[in-house]
């Protein structure tokens, strides 16, 4: 999968919620979708994905159901719950505010100080 940017702590949950908000996905699908959406810049450690999924499921933010994959195998699909949708909105806003703040700091020039 090559190398890419490291994830900031806490962002994995946000990315998973976003990925499954677009369409129900199985675990491997979530991995591929994040990779695709980030233009291959974000690499998720495969081993940490599943504990994160179980954590989100335990908190009731996503709900699992068994379905059939493209290659006709039984696979566990995750979909966003109503609580998950709210959580995604809150975390996304949080992230954008943080992002803006960091931008302001990084964009500062000597004159502005």
């Amino acid at each position: 999968m090559g190398s890419g940017a490291d994830l900031l702590p806490g962002t994995l949950d946000l990315l998973i919620l976003k990925a499954v908000s677009l369409a129900p996905l199985h675990g491997y699908g979530i991995l591929l979708r994040i990779q695709q959406l980030s233009r291959a810049m974000l690499q998720i450690e495969q081993g940490s994905l599943y504990p994160a999924l179980y954590r989100l499921e335990h908190r009731g933010l996503i709900s699992p159901e068994w379905g059939v994959s493209d290659n006709n195998r039984r696979a566990k699909y995750y979909r966003l719950t109503a609580a998950g949708r709210n959580q995604l909105r809150r975390e996304a806003e949080e992230w954008r505010r943080l992002n803006d703040a960091v931008e302001y700091v990084l964009g500062a020039t000597p004159q502005e100080v």
């Binding site: 999968m1 199985h26 675990g27 491997y28 450690e45 495969q46 081993g47 599943y50 504990p51 994160a52 999924l53 179980y54 954590r55 499921e57 335990h58 908190r59 009731g60 994959s69 290659n71 195998r73 039984r74 696979a75 566990k76 609580a83």
Partner: protein, 884 residues
């Protein structure tokens, strides 16, 4: 929060499913990745390797997933429990010993607690039981207070009229064997006479009809009755029209006014209630009533006591008691009043089983200590490869809890069996009238006891075990030339404690056994061989006069005497070994004061049938008729107490209003005393009166309390005799049922049932303590020998004599036993004061009991030390050397 709980609950309840789903999901991921890598042009083998590498350790991922769902604690517990069960299976001797010990200890505790719960702790089954009280007179004597609950009619009237804060009712004891006829059926029932307001005070209204009015509860009031639900069902088939109809009690018509609800129970065990009709003369002149009460709303206990005390001491002068001047009228809780007699013995029994539990727990703690020192290597290894101290303690604790749960489960079964086996004896001896069973409360207490035991004996060894640092753990496990420095002191201390408590229990049991033996073997004063007794209740309208009663006696005895095998027969008011009538009397020699004696009317044949020896003068004869001089025959105990150093023949006394001359002295026959300080079964001052010379009024009153007893001496068997008596009585009066047919030995056994049960219960507990102590000591010695077998082998190889090593090992055990026994004697001497009032014919400091207890325990200790020490002789020095 709720979703988390659901997810957690789901994870637990469908654990296997969740596990396999997780495995499937991860497998799907790996397969998909492999497919992608292959489609990117990688060789299948390489793709699989690569996929696994990228994913990392699946086990760790799974673990983290489980943790994410909150399953880790459960996992640990399940794993620890499995491990503990495996270990326990691998060590069956330890497991069996521990579980059996716990089962016996917890079983004994469960059984005794269920009894304590039913008798002392559970609130009375009436509304607002805390407001129920009993009015009593308390006497302070030598710093101890005695409670007198039997009161006179005068006290009852004073309480009724002057204690406005109490809603009170007077009652009488219940009378068994009363004949009830209703709807053509006859039944022997228990009748209790209760004052109006009895049911209102208890707070239980009749199920049908009403209770007695004040008008019905006075002398000459209309005869009315309230039936128990059971009698209503069995006797009149649950007929609802019974209220207002007539039934016959003792041959007299009574109008039924009410029926009580099915779950109504009292400690007096009655089937039919009739009005008390209290008086201040006759019955009411003596202490024959109890007074129960409910505190009126807003009245506190001190206020009620103050009202009762204002009544003054004058009114209690007629009450039986050590000293009227020191008496105080007061109220105590009804529950306490009803359990006054059994409270102390029951608490004592509870204390004894608690001691057994402590001994048992000490045993298990010892076993665990021994085991943990053997397992020090294993634990050391686990700590060495990185197990945290918490994890090791958790593991050891789990083992203890698993043991405790197994023990508790087995203990509940044992307790249930013990309860079931003892129930009939308990019902009569401890006055158990509420159902005792495996209540939720009882279950809770058992689990708490087991749990506390588990933690107590699990935590200590666990903490000592993990304190071991690695080097000493490996060194002390003893695979060096010498034995490791074991930590024997905690275990030795446990043994000493066990010994001390064991002695205490043995001494207690010994005192009770000696009490029973001394009561059971006291001189009978008559020849009991071939003597049988039977009761016939004469609470009957047709037997109101002495003439009617004596005619029945004469006719039935005439027929009984002609039965084959019958040597002699007679009728007496109460037989030997049973409670007798108490009567006040007044010597005519000018002495004043209170004189009390047992009184018993007899037909001339009764003392002859018993072969009671006449010591001076004459016995009662056929010549003593109603019209002849009124006479009395007294026993030796009477002479000893009231006429010492004086010739009693020719003296006279007033008895029940009649002057009588003393014409003879007979030997003592033991009876239940019920007054004075004579003990449960003793030679009590007694006067014998000719039945024919009883006044009419007193004979019918006495017959409401006692059914007269036919005593028959036979050379034949009991069974045909019963038939013969029934026929003989039937010929004289076909309506009188014969009850209570027993040999005189059975009468004695029944009278001593409480003392026997006490001796058996405490004896059983002492035996249990002995077995536990044996196991504990034997375990300690065996463990020491096993630990030192290597060292012993080397010593033997170097020429030490096995017998000397055995001797020293046994000596060690005996030293501990001796120290424990010494401590135990001190403890027992202190504890024996608690049983002082329950033992007879033996002193609390009885030297023989103590010597037997100490010698017995030391013998057990000797065997417990010797048997495991003999293993030393089997140590083979050659093998020890080879293994070096």
């Amino acid at each position: 929060m709720f979703t988390r709980f659901r997810s957690f609950a789901h994870a637990i309840s469908r654990r296997r499913r969740v596990e396999s789903d997780l495995a499937d999901e991860l497998q799907f991921h790996l397969d998909a990745r492999v497919q992608d890598l292959i489609s990117q042009g990688m060789a299948p083998e390489e793709a699989r390797r690569r996929a696994r590498l990228e994913f990392g350790a699946t086990d760790r991922v799974r673990e983290e997933c489980r943790e994410a769902r909150g399953l880790r604690v459960i996992d640990t517990i399940v794993r620890n429990t499995r491990f503990a069960l495996r270990l326990l299976r691998r060590d069956p001797v330890f497991t069996t010993t521990a579980v059996a010990t716990l089962a016996l200890c917890i079983g004994a505790n469960t059984a005794v607690f269920s009894l304590v719960d039913a008798v002392l702790l559970r609130p009375l089954p009436y509304p607002d039981p805390a407001r129920l009280a009993q009015v009593v007179v308390t006497y302070a004597r030598n710093g101890e207070s005695t409670v007198q609950s039997a009161l006179t009619g005068a006290v009852w009237e004073a309480v009724r009229d002057r204690a406005a804060g109490l809603d009170a009712a007077a009652i009488s004891e219940s009378t068994p064997e009363v004949n009830l006829f209703a709807d053509g059926h006859a039944l022997s029932v228990r009748q209790q006479r209760v004052g109006s307001g009895f049911f209102r005070v208890l707070g239980v209204p009749p199920f049908m009809g009403r209770e007695f009015t004040a008008d019905e509860d006075r002398q000459g009031g209309p005869p009315v009755a309230v039936l128990s639900h059971a009698v209503w069902l069995s006797q009149v088939g649950g007929d609802r029209t019974i209220v207002g109809r007539t039934i016959h009690l003792r041959g007299e018509p009574y109008t039924v006014v009410g029926v009580m609800p099915p779950d109504f129970r009292t400690g007096w065990l009655a089937d039919v209630w009739t009005p008390l009709r209290p008086t201040t003369t006759g019955e009411g002149g003596g202490s024959n009533y109890s007074v129960i009460a409910r505190l009126r709303p807003g009245i506190t206990e001190p206020e009620a006591d103050a009202q009762l005390q204002r009544i003054g001491t004058d009114v209690i002068r007629g009450v039986d008691g050590p000293n009227a001047a020191s008496g105080r009228l007061q109220q105590i809780s009804l529950q306490r009043g009803m359990t006054e007699e059994v409270r102390q013995p029951l608490l004592l029994l509870w204390g004894a089983v608690a001691l057994v539990l402590i001994i048992g727990c000490a045993n298990i703690a010892g076993l665990q200590l021994a085991r943990s020192s053997v397992r020090a290597r294993e634990i050391g290894t686990r700590v060495a490869i990185g197990a945290g101290r918490g994890a090791v303690v958790g593991q050891l604790l789990t083992e203890s809890v698993v043991l405790a749960v197994l023990g508790a489960a087995a203990g509940i079964v044992v307790g249930w069996l013990v309860m079931a086996a003892l129930m009939p004896a308990l019902v009569t001896t401890f006055g158990l009238w509420q159902p005792a069973g495996l209540s939720v409360r009882l279950l809770g207490v058992s689990i708490v006891v087991a749990g506390a035991t588990g933690v107590a004996f699990g935590l200590w060894p666990a903490l000592t075990a993990t304190r071991t640092d690695l080097r000493s753990a490996f060194a002390e496990a003893g695979h060096r030339g010498v034995a490791g420095r074991a930590h024997p002191w905690p275990r030795r201390l446990l043994i000493v404690i066990q010994m001390a408590l064991g002695i205490t229990l043995l001494v207690g049991a010994g005192l009770f056994v000696r009490t029973f033996l001394s009561l059971n073997t006291q001189p009978a004063g008559f020849d009991p061989t071939g003597v049988f007794t039977a009761h016939i209740s004469l609470q009957d309208a047709r037997y109101k006069t002495t003439e009617q009663v004596v005619r029945l006696f004469d006719e039935s005895l005439f027929r009984i005497q002609s039965l084959s095998g019958v040597v002699a027969a007679g009728v007496m008011l109460t037989p030997p070994y049973e409670r007798a009538l108490n009567l006040g009397f007044m010597p005519t020699d000018g002495r004043t004061g209170n004189f009390t004696t047992n009184a018993c009317y007899v037909t001339p044949g009764a003392l002859r049938a018993l072969r009671v020896s006449t010591l001076r003068g004459r016995s009662i004869t056929e010549a003593d008729r109603a019209a002849t001089e009124h006479v009395v025959v007294v026993n030796e105990a009477f002479v000893r107490r009231y006429y010492p150093q004086r010739d009693i023949l020719g003296e006279s006394m007033r008895l029940g209003g009649t002057a009588r001359n003393v014409v003879g002295v007979v030997g003592d026959v033991p009876v239940k005393s019920g007054w004075g300080n004579y003990g449960p079964l003793a030679a009590v001052p007694t006067v014998y009166l000719p039945a024919a010379q009883m006044p009419d009024a007193s004979i019918s009153m006495i017959h409401t309390w006692f059914p007269p007893t036919w005593v028959v001496r036979t050379v034949g068997d009991g069974a045909p005799l019963l038939l013969g008596i029934q026929k003989a009585v039937g010929a004289a009066d076909p309506l009188l049922p014969v009850t209570g047919f027993r040999s005189i030995d059975d009468v004695r056994a029944d009278s001593l049932a409480l003392q026997r049960l006490r001796a058996e219960l405490f004896g059983g507990l002492a035996l249990l303590a002995l077995v536990l102590t044996f196991t504990g000591l034997a375990g300690l010695i065996a463990h020491g020998v096993a630990q030192r077998s290597h060292e012993i082998g080397i010593r033997l190889a170097l020429g030490a004599r096995a017998s000397r090593i055995v001797g020293r090992t046994v000596g060690q055990g005996m030293l501990l036993a001796a120290v424990g026994a010494l401590a135990g004697v001190g403890l027992a001497l202190a504890g024996a004061r608690l049983v002082e009032r329950l033992i007879w014919g033996v002193r609390p400091g009885d030297p023989l009991t103590y010597v037997v207890a100490v010698v017995g325990l030391l013998c057990v200790a000797a065997v417990a030390s010797l048997v495991p020490a003999l293993a030393i002789a089997r140590v083979d020095p050659a093998r020890t050397l080879r293994s070096e």
